[in-house]
Amino acid sequence: MRWMTDTIAGRTIIVLLFGLGTILGLAHYLYQKGIEREVASGNVERLVDRLIFLSDTITTLEPSVRDEAAHRLSGGPIELHWAREPFATAGGLLDSDTIALRDSLMTRVPKLPGGGLIIGSTRTGPIEHGSSRDSSDPHTTLLSLALADGSWLNVTLVKVLGARTASPSILLSAGLGALGIIAISILMGRWLTRPLEQLAAGSRQLFQTPQNAQLPESGTREVRTLANAINELQHRIGGLLATRTQMLAAVSHDLRTPLTRLRLRSARVQDIETRRSIEADLDEMEAMIDAALEFLRTDKDAEEIEHVDLGAVLQTIADDAADAGQKVEVRAPRNLVIRGRHLALKRALTNLVQNAVRYAGSALVEASANGEGVRIVIRDQGPGISADKLEAVFEPFYRLEASRGRATGGHGLGLTVARSIARAHGGDVVLVNRTPRGLDAIVTLPATVRAVETG
């Protein structure tokens, strides 16, 4: 039932059922009343016709047979007697039907008003309009009609109760109607809410698609207005982001010249120990700037996609690490070719290997290819990362506790950049703790892998 109030479709059903139910009930009531009135007035007219016909017929007969004929003509609610005298005596309370009968008779038979019509009723209680008693209280009305020769036709009218019109068929049709309404409102609810659902889906996609994507401003006016508002919001957010990105990029960019100057100056430092330290600091700063720029890199300055041998890339990373005195072992097949961006992939893999070396002192890289793609696992023997942080470390500038932080030279963007590069290639990077010790960084890059025989 919660669905009924929680969705527009449900609410539409409630509104439609309530409104249409009210209208149906009211219409039914009015219709019923109308029918009753019609039937009642029709009855009076027919009764008058019959009474006139009967009195005319009786008049044409010989007086000796009149009473017998009258008895024979009796039937239904009418009982006839012929006599020289009127039986009826005026009195009793007349209901509305009887009054209508009297008025009609007086109009139709001109000689009756002059004392030719006597009406009496057995009813004695007050007439309560609308009460059930009115119809359920049987009573008899006596009419005496004066005939042309002065004799009387005495009529006894038994009020026949009209059957109450409520019947199972009415409930059935109302029930079917309600079902129909529910069915229609489900369809209409869908129709009403589809533009909204499309809008919601579109908004979600908005931030996954390249910048300045716009929602289509179509659908109903309300949806168009909403789409327009979201587009404006997106435009403004895009503008703000672009400004910040440009600023950060400009700062990182402008640091390059002073860094180059520092490199040249450090070459002039005589003390070898000091010079080494300065150069190490410079290396770290450069790494940070490179990571920041890589993070801020937009699609337009991406490299071209080419066939790249990841085995050679991993080999270079391992050799460079060995030259820097680090222990990195690579186990990769001869040809690990994928389509991708060469330098970006190298950067991503370098980041992951350097991460392992930084926190565990060494790394083992295992690469393999299958029909679905390339899988590269960078294993270390370090302390790992607590399970609830395995995703958080991919956030930009996220730092684990101090022991894994600045002291070991992390800059908080390595994993972020690695993952964003892998994802730009349709792959991903995840971290998995090993038991009893160690961390695996698992890189998956999707197919378009082909085995190529080199040399």
Partner: protein, 254 residues
């Protein structure tokens, strides 16, 4: 603006391999210009400085003997790329562009505009010196820039010297370290000739100080592995006992 440093430095021992050359540096950062002038001067290069395009043109007219132009991409007024194009239209002097690291577009456009090499800021002084020497050596070997070797082909492989990109016969990019690239370039510039370890070490030195100490044999074995062969006798690079190494296949230039 011109400064020379005739005083001998500790690098005197290497100077014999690179005869004195005249380098014109165009960068808008005055301190960087000065630092470059001091550093290169200490390594027996004559250095002339220019702050922008106008000064560059003036200095070129005043010093027609300039052997190498180092040109920053980001210059006030006329951009470095535009200056490079103008310069290439009227002169054969080797040009090295200074680009921002990671800015692929500047690098590629610069090379298309006729630059011979590029350095990414921030760069280390030793790397710059190695590149300058390599560029001067190549310019001397091949003469006019029309003949300058930009792309090498051997045994189905291709090396794009401008992009520093090696492709195997299937067109797959094979990643090279800086040391491997320099070593391969040294082989490609003198194919089918026996090269001594000393010569290779001299030409293949790169910015990493520790790589200087790396045995050239290790570099060669790494390069062999990248070229898809670890076989010492049958591969592209043949060991010549007691003499050095020889690059076996014939090389074509473009």
């Amino acid at each position: 603006m011109s400064r020379t440093h005739p005083e001998q430095s500790e690098h005197k021992a290497n100077a014999a391999a690179v005869p004195l050359a005249h380098v014109l540096i165009c960068d808008d950062d005055p301190e960087l210009r000065q630092l470059l002038a001091i550093f290169l001067g200490e390594h027996d290069l004559e250095v002339t400085l220019a702050a922008d395009g106008r000064e560059l043109q003036r200095q070129l007219r005043a010093n027609p003997s300039v052997d190498l132009v180092i040109l920053d991409v980001m210059l006030p007024g006329t951009s470095g790329l535009e200056l490079c194009r103008e310069l290439r239209a009227s002169s054969t002097v080797p040009i090295m562009m200074l680009t921002a690291r990671g800015d692929e577009t500047d690098r590629i456009v610069g090379l298309e505009m006729g630059a011979d090499d590029y350095m990414s800021k921030p760069f280390g002084p030793n790397e710059l010196l190695a590149r300058i020497r390599a560029l001067l050596r190549r310019a001397r070997m091949s003469g006019a820039p029309g003949d300058r070797k930009r792309s090498f082909a051997f045994d189905g492989w291709r090396l794009d010297a401008a992009r520093r990109e090696l492709r195997n016969p299937e067109g797959v990019i094979i990643d090279l370290s800086v040391g491997e690239y320099d070593l391969l370039l040294a082989f490609l510039e003198a194919p089918q000739r026996v090269l001594s370890r000393e010569h290779l070490l001299e030409t293949a030195r790169n910015r990493q100080a520790q790589a200087f100490d790396r045995s050239i044999d290790i570099q060669v074995s790494r390069l062999r592995r990248k070229l898809g062969s670890s076989d010492e006798s049958d591969g592209l690079i043949k060991t010549v006992r007691g003499a050095g190494y020889m690059f076996v296949p014939s090389v074509t230039f473009r």
